[in-house]
């Protein structure tokens, strides 16, 4: 599904991403972990075209998408969520998802019809899936952190993606919220046959659903394998000395 080959990116001499290669098979759930500053967000930004890599390739279903404009990714089946919650704050929850659907269906060129009830059924279905239907009229910015993350998920899902890239989906959540959030992710991924690639800090979250785990350290992928393999890896243990697990 997604393949990354030899990605490299340096900022002022510092190698943020150093020859990273990995591949994600369809309907797989892959997690990228690593300490702060390891380059997880940079890697995501490189994959989604937010940053141009100095070298390397990104392939989506065999097609080269390196450095592609971010707004074209959605049409290619890739959705993304952000580390810092990124929603349309002054729009209602309903309007948030509706806007995404309008963009996805290419109806943005319509300057005439009223948009009030457009795609109402689809929006409600998505909101029900992530558990936000009762808050449909609430203003996005007034939601709790956890709810905003759910909204972000709904927005990302409205593009009917085949693969979802989630940047620290449980950042800032309590452990109870994290468990609920991860369960939701796993369920939705299963229901919609999604491929999932996410970065995480929370080890519990990672080890509970990830089928393969990659460990980033100072821009390099120092381990890539099943949870058991990664857990047993010597270098990973060294890097994570003192880390919670």
């Amino acid at each position: 599904m997604l393949e990354v080959r030899g990605l490299r990116k340096a900022f002022a001499g510092v190698r943020a991403t150093d020859e990273v290669s990995l591949s994600v098979a369809p309907e797989q759930i892959v997690a990228i972990i690593g300490p702060n500053g390891a380059g997880k967000s940079t890697l995501f930004n490189l994959i989604t075209g937010h940053l141009r890599p100095d070298a390397g390739q990104v392939l989506l279903r065999g097609r080269d998408i390196t450095g592609i404009a971010p707004h074209r990714l959605c049409a290619l089946g890739m959705g993304r969520s952000f580390q810092r919650t990124n929603i349309f704050a002054q729009l209602s929850v309903f309007e948030n998802v509706q806007a995404a659907l309008i963009a996805h269906h290419g109806r943005g060129r319509n300057l005439w019809t009223r948009a009030d009830a457009l795609y109402r059924d689809e929006v409600e279905e998505l909101l029900r899936d992530v558990g936000l239907l009762d808050k449909a009229q609430a203003e996005g910015g007034t939601l709790s952190h956890g709810n905003q993350k759910q909204l972000e998920l709904a927005i990302a899902l409205s593009g009917r993606p085949d693969i979802l890239l989630l940047d620290e989906p449980t950042a800032g959540m309590s452990s109870a919220e994290t468990r609920a959030s991860i369960a939701l992710l796993a369920r939705i991924a299963g229901e919609r046959s999604l491929t999932l690639l996410f970065t995480e800090h929370d080890m519990q979250a990672v080890f509970s659903i990830a089928q393969r785990i990659g460990v980033l350290h100072q821009g390099r992928l120092i381990a890539l394998g099943s949870p058991d393999e990664v857990r047993a890896d010597a270098e990973v243990r060294r890097v994570y000395l003192g880390a919670r697990h």
Partner: protein, 329 residues
């Protein structure tokens, strides 16, 4: 721009219809002065609402919106005065020309962000002003173009009950009809799926990109539309003013329309129109007492910025909402 939730009684009031009916009644008040003021306000409302397409809906702060106002005014005046072109065509041409320039300048502007965007709009507007100021042969230079012909308004007398309408009243009716039509179009645009995408861009351009929106293209489209309607307003203003002058495009005009929009409130479709009316009336009242209108305007601005950032309409709406909540509790 937010619209009141469908369940609130405020949303069910047909504001557009109400305002239009109110505006229609003005000539029957009997005073030529009121009709004059109403014409002025109507034209400026269109100008202000067009800017709000950029500011309130798309989140783009333009310091140079008067450029398109001026381009529209000059286009219409030049065509009618020197080319003998009938009003209907000149009017349409004004909008198209202003829109074309907006597309040209906008292409460069939307590639920059925030403060650079604003400064670029200002720079382009000043270029337009400089051209109008210096190009004596076409624009009349510093003196501008005076004695712009009135459009043929004889058809108004054919309408029932209006056979003895004065030229001022006939012109007002024409302006009202045209402005109403333009505002109707703008309202539909704002409430369309296109408008929804614009609000998403305003809220979070990065997020919008990741749901598949080509942000720059939409911003350019909004910029072009806003410029076109500003041009139409400018055309009407040139006729109303019986003359077109370079300061139609000067930055102080851009500041004036920006203040109208903020004063009325960027969050509601009719906010800028209310702001245009309020500013116009305030200006007249204050000028009658003192020559220090700029200072008064400055103080009003400070009050708005610190106390009523949502503008007149925004503040009233919020107050109403709070009242409703208290009643429900």
């Amino acid at each position: 721009m937010s619209t009141p939730p469908a369940c609130s009684p405020l949303a069910r009031v047909p504001w557009s219809l109400l305002l239009f009916a109110l505006a229609l009644c003005v000539p029957w008040l009997g005073s030529r002065y009121y009709t004059f003021v109403a014409t002025d306000i109507a034209i400026l409302s269109l100008f202000a609402v067009s800017l709000n397409l950029l500011l309130g809906t798309t989140g783009l702060v333009s310091f140079g919106h008067a450029a398109y106002f001026g381009i529209g005014a000059y286009t219409c005046a030049i065509l009618m005065k020197s080319g003998g072109v009938p009003f209907a065509l000149a009017f349409a041409a004004a909008g198209i020309t202003a829109g074309a320039f907006a597309a040209l300048f906008g292409f460069f502007c939307v590639r920059s962000s925030k403060i650079y965007f604003a400064m670029l709009t200002l720079a382009f507007a000043q270029i337009v002003w400089a051209v109008c100021f210096k190009w004596n042969s076409v624009t009349g230079g510093e003196q501008g173009l005076s004695n712009v012909p009135y459009p043929d308004l004889s058809w108004v007398s054919l309408l029932p009950g209006l056979s003895d309408a004065s030229p001022g009243e006939r012109f007002y009716l024409l302006v009202l009809l045209l402005v109403a039509a333009c505002l109707l179009v703008l309202q539909r645009v704002v409430r369309s799926p296109f408008g929804r995408i614009l609000t998403a861009i305003r809220e979070n351009p990065e997020r919008a990109e990741f749901v598949g929106v080509d942000v720059r293209r939409y911003q350019l489209a909004a910029f072009t539309l806003a410029g076109a309607f500003a041009g139409l307003a400018g055309a009407l203003f040139g006729l109303f003013n019986r003359g077109v002058f370079p300061d139609f495009a000067y930055w102080s005009k851009s500041a004036e329309v920006l203040i109208m929009v903020i004063l009325g409130g960027t969050g509601h479709f009719w906010g800028p129109a209310v702001g245009a009316a309020a500013l116009n009336l305030l200006n007249q009242q204050i000028n009658a007492y003192t020559q220090y209108w700029p200072m008064v305007l400055g103080v009003v601005l400070v009050i708005i910025v610190f106390v009523f950032p949502a503008g007149i309409v925004g503040t009233l709406h919020a107050a109403w909402a709070r009242l409703q909540e208290r009643r429900r509790a």
